[in-house]
Symmetry: C2
């Protein structure tokens, strides 16, 4: 195992801590698809009992991040390129709506912050940070929106495909393209042009989907 586990022996909210750490490790790809999650092992890493671990795992399963089989244990849920593509399709429906709503009530310092994060993203020399910076930018754009449920669903969708996003940013022109598209979206926001911004955002997401399908071709259907 290669994630950071602190000692939370006899801590009150152990299950939430375990949940957070495991979730982060999974969406960032540190725990790769199919990796088994042994309750005992994880409990030892946190110096806690298996009870909070079990609770964390059951919550992760509800989010679709792990799969469990009775008496066989939990493994990190895999996501085929086709399944990921579907998640991108959903994002492409939701996030433009969120952005459009956010733009109607966006305070000035929000755009300011978005611009800074956009620059931080394009200037960051550490590929390890790109995933987080990308997500920060999107999150800031949506922050002013009141569509809480939309945002909740979108967050879960992003969680599920975060691994693919990170992989894409590392590919050939992945980073350059993301940067370019972020800037275009940001400018549309600064112009107050909701139609353009949401359309560009949609293209940004759909583009990522096609790039994904191209670079992770689905295996030939076998009899």
């Amino acid at each position: 195992m290669n994630f950071k586990a602190v000692d939370i022996s006899r801590t009150a909210s152990a299950s939430s801590i375990v949940f957070d750490v495991l979730r982060k490790a999974i969406i960032e790809g540190e725990l790769v698809e199919g990796a088994p999650l042994r309750q005992d092992e994880i409990a030892n890493m946190f110096s806690t009992s298996r009870i909070p671990v079990r609770e964390a795992i059951s919550r992760l399963e509800e989010l679709g991040l792990v799969k469990t089989q009775r008496y066989k244990g939990a493994v990190v849920a895999g996501l085929s390129a086709d399944e990921a593509a579907e998640v991108f399709d959903l994002r492409a429906l939701l996030e433009p709506e969120i952005l459009r709503d956010a733009m109607t009530r966006m305070p000035k310092d929000c755009l300011q912050k978005a611009r800074e994060q956009c620059q931080a993203f394009s200037n960051s020399p550490k590929p390890m940070e790109w995933g987080d910076l990308n997500r920060d930018f999107h999150k800031t754009l949506y922050s002013a929106s009141n569509l809480k449920y939309f945002k909740e669903v979108a967050e879960n969708a992003m969680d599920r495909v975060e691994r693919y996003i990170r992989a894409q940013l590392l590919m050939s022109d992945g980073m350059a393209r993301a940067d370019r598209e972020h800037l275009a979206i940001l400018e549309a926001c600064e112009d107050g042009d909701g139609d353009r911004a949401s359309l560009l955002l949609r293209d940004h997401i759909i583009g990522a989907k096609f790039s994904l399908l191209e670079h992770f071709p689905s295996p030939a259907v076998r009899k």
Copy 2:
């Protein structure tokens, strides 16, 4: 408490059973908003320990059906009319896409089944069944779709607003209108007209949203 709890003492999948029963009781409105869920009490009703109950509750929280506070316990999550309206908006985005996809691969007996369910819905004399029958009809229409993630998200959305749907069906012309609209959607499906079907479905959902906002007006904003 007014839901059916069977004796599952020492049963292997106790937590899943508790989860299912609680979920059903919540979405059907038998456990009303704000009702406290005491671990002890529920465990006794099922003749199990609190462990499976805790797991069930934590999963329900992940679904947004209950809210918990440390050491204070869980209560059935409330949903204001405004929040419910947002959920309907999301359904209006997703479900037409699901239906359109389902129609491209719908086997013949599926439409047959939908028609039967549609009639069963309009003929049912028991208001208690209307909610289930309504949902069955929608589910059948979507069943052929391959958009698993879309369907998963839509299911959760329906869960959250099921209480409002049931209330609407009981109101004045609620049942009549739903019946009328279901028939129109079904006919568009039978004609193989995906555009018309998805549009009618969208209207069906958006209509329910406005009816909801009309009948459950949000309280005046108070200082």
